[in-house]
Amino acid sequence: MTASTAPDFRTRLQDWLPKLVLAPSFAVTVLFVYGFIAFTVVLSFTGSKMLPNFKWVGWENYAKLWALPAWNTAIVNIAIFATLYIVICTAVGLMLAIFLDQKIRGEGVLRPIYLYPMALSFIVTGTAWKWFLDPGIGLEKVMHLWGWESFSFTWIKDGDMAIYTIVIAAVWQTSGFVMAMFLAGLRGIDNEILKAAQIDGASNWQLYRRIVIPLLRPAFLSAFVILSHLAIKSYDLVVALTGGGPGRATEMPATFMYSYTFTRNQMGIGASSAVIMLMTIAAIMVPYLYAELKEKA
């Protein structure tokens, strides 16, 4: 009897084993990602203050949120930041990739120099740029010492301009990575196509505008997805570089969520701001992931 059931059990176990191996990860994802999202969505409709409670208040938190000047500052800032960050990183990355692709001597030295900032924490990047841009000891003072007395660069202390210093530091950190993505795309382009176009008399400019750049479409898309996702999540860099200041001038949705939830004890409002951040990212990511998976399946 045992002889007949033992192999049976073995084969059935083998059938189930793959799913058993995957199950913990799947369960953890369902609980810690989707369960937690549901929890936060529910909280955003409750009057939670310092601790979660379940007193239903409907859309009140969302109404309050959009009436808050700090949230409006955060929305304006993320719009400015994300647009400039994505556009400049893409432009710089593409330009560096195209130039590096011109049989450059020393490419092996330049590439890691462009890429290394990506290895650093945003806190390190923020610290470096914070002091470098500080008028008291950094760039402005250096220029004065070098004899350019009228040089002024006080963006980091200026409520209207501080947001642009975050763009500078963020571009410094990620543009090399974008360069690597475009370079990979460029190296994948068949040289025969370019040669054929050259024989037809196309100039370099036409070659890039009409042939190369359209062929890089997938790289543009990945760059856009990665950069927009990094932009919306940007928290550490703001904390390290400006601390959200001067005043609240560089407030972003991520810093807003943290301060309302954990230091101002307005958990309901904090949760509603997190839900809006998720919705924004989902609007970008879901179509992209859907298309990717459909193509592969």
Binding site: Q14, L17, P18, K19, V21, L22, P24, S25, F26, T29, V30, F32, V33, F36, I37, T40, V92, L96, F99, D101, Q102, K103, P112, I113, Y114, A119, L120, S121, I123, V124, A128, K130, W131, F132, I137, K141, V142, L145, A180, A184, R187, I189, N191, Q198, A219, H229, Y235, A240, A254, Y258, F262, M267, A274, V275, M277, L278, I281, L289, E292, L293
Partner: protein, 296 residues
């Protein structure tokens, strides 16, 4: 001449004139300076006495070279209320990173193996759900995570942080291994199965030996992300804060004289492990990524 450069470099067939080339080199060098500048400023000012920074030129080489700022950042600087330096936090980070990277990479490899070689109905959906979790803004999970860690008694502990990083890391590691194993011939797996090899035997004997390149990608990715994380560390670190949080506390501290040289030394200390990994293995990382692990 330009048209023949096939083979080794794979550079473009486009050829450029002399003036254009000079301009290209100039621009590439200017950008190299831009990327190196902050590193130079940090490095040079971390070996200067404070007076030379506040009273002198940030770009100048030190007149007096000193390692005192490094010593201070490592072992005596005031972090929060304790004059411990960054040393204990550095150890926290290591204790957190090593298990988190190892667990998430192993789990990712097994998941990728199942999702490509033992496909079942709905596996794409399972993968899609795991994949989306890589891209959520973590703000959406902060509150419930705080509640859960508190309930489990893991709040403010290294094991708590390991749990958090594994949970939100397996999406990426699964993605890497899945895409890598997808290119591996399934016939070999089927043949081994017919020969009587089991699930783990096939993984161990056939897939694992060829997983080197993607394991490097996964380890570097996870190591960099977890070491550099600030949000989870600041939210759930408690008394076991990682290096990034300690560095931020050091730099933002509002009491006393701002010791810029110590801040810079601390920043470099926080950056050293990832820089080291990047310098040693960065080449393999880029190569692995380009081999199609992140397809666009």
């Amino acid at each position: 001449m330009a048209a023949q450069s096939h083979g080794v470099t794979q550079d473009t067939a486009v050829s450029t004139g002399r003036v254009t080339r000079a301009l290209i080199y100039l621009l590439l060098l200017l950008f190299a300076l831009f990327y190196l500048l902050p590193l130079y400023v940090m490095g040079i000012n971390s070996v200067k006495p404070l007076a030379e920074i506040t009273g002198g030129n940030m770009m100048a080489l030190p007149e007096v070279w000193t390692l005192e700022p490094w010593r201070s950042a490592w072992s005596t600087a005031q972090i929060g209320v304790e004059p411990t330096g960054l040393k204990p936090y550095f150890l926290n980070s290591i204790l957190m990173v090593a298990p988190a990277v190892a667990i998430s990479t192993i789990v990712g490899a097994l998941n990728g193996y199942v999702l490509t070689k033992w496909r079942f109905r709905g596996d794409t959906w399972v993968f899609g759900l795991m994949l989306f979790s890589c891209f959520i803004p973590f703000q959406i999970v902060l509150i419930p995570m705080a509640v859960v860690l508190g309930t489990l008694g893991l709040a403010g502990s290294v094991p708590g942080l390991i749990l958090v990083h594994v949970v939100y890391g397996i999406g990426f590691t699964t993605l890497y291994f899945r895409n890598y194993y997808a290119a591996f011939p399934t016939e070999l797996v089927r043949a081994a199965q017919i020969d009587g090899a089991g699930f783990f035997q096939i993984f161990w004997r056939i897939l694992l030996p060829v997983s080197g390149p993607i394991a490097v990608v996964s380890v570097i990715w996870q190591f960099t992300n977890i070491w550099n994380d600030f949000l989870f560390g600041a939210s759930f670190g408690g008394t076991s804060q990682p290096m990034t949080v300690a560095l931020n506390n050091l730099v933002q501290s509002s009491t006393g004289v701002k010791e810029y040289n110590v801040h810079f030394a601390g920043a470099i200390l926080a950056a050293l492990p990832t820089l080291f990994v990047y310098i040693v293995a960065g080449r393999y990382f880029v190569r692995g990524l380009m081999a199609g692990s992140v397809k666009g």
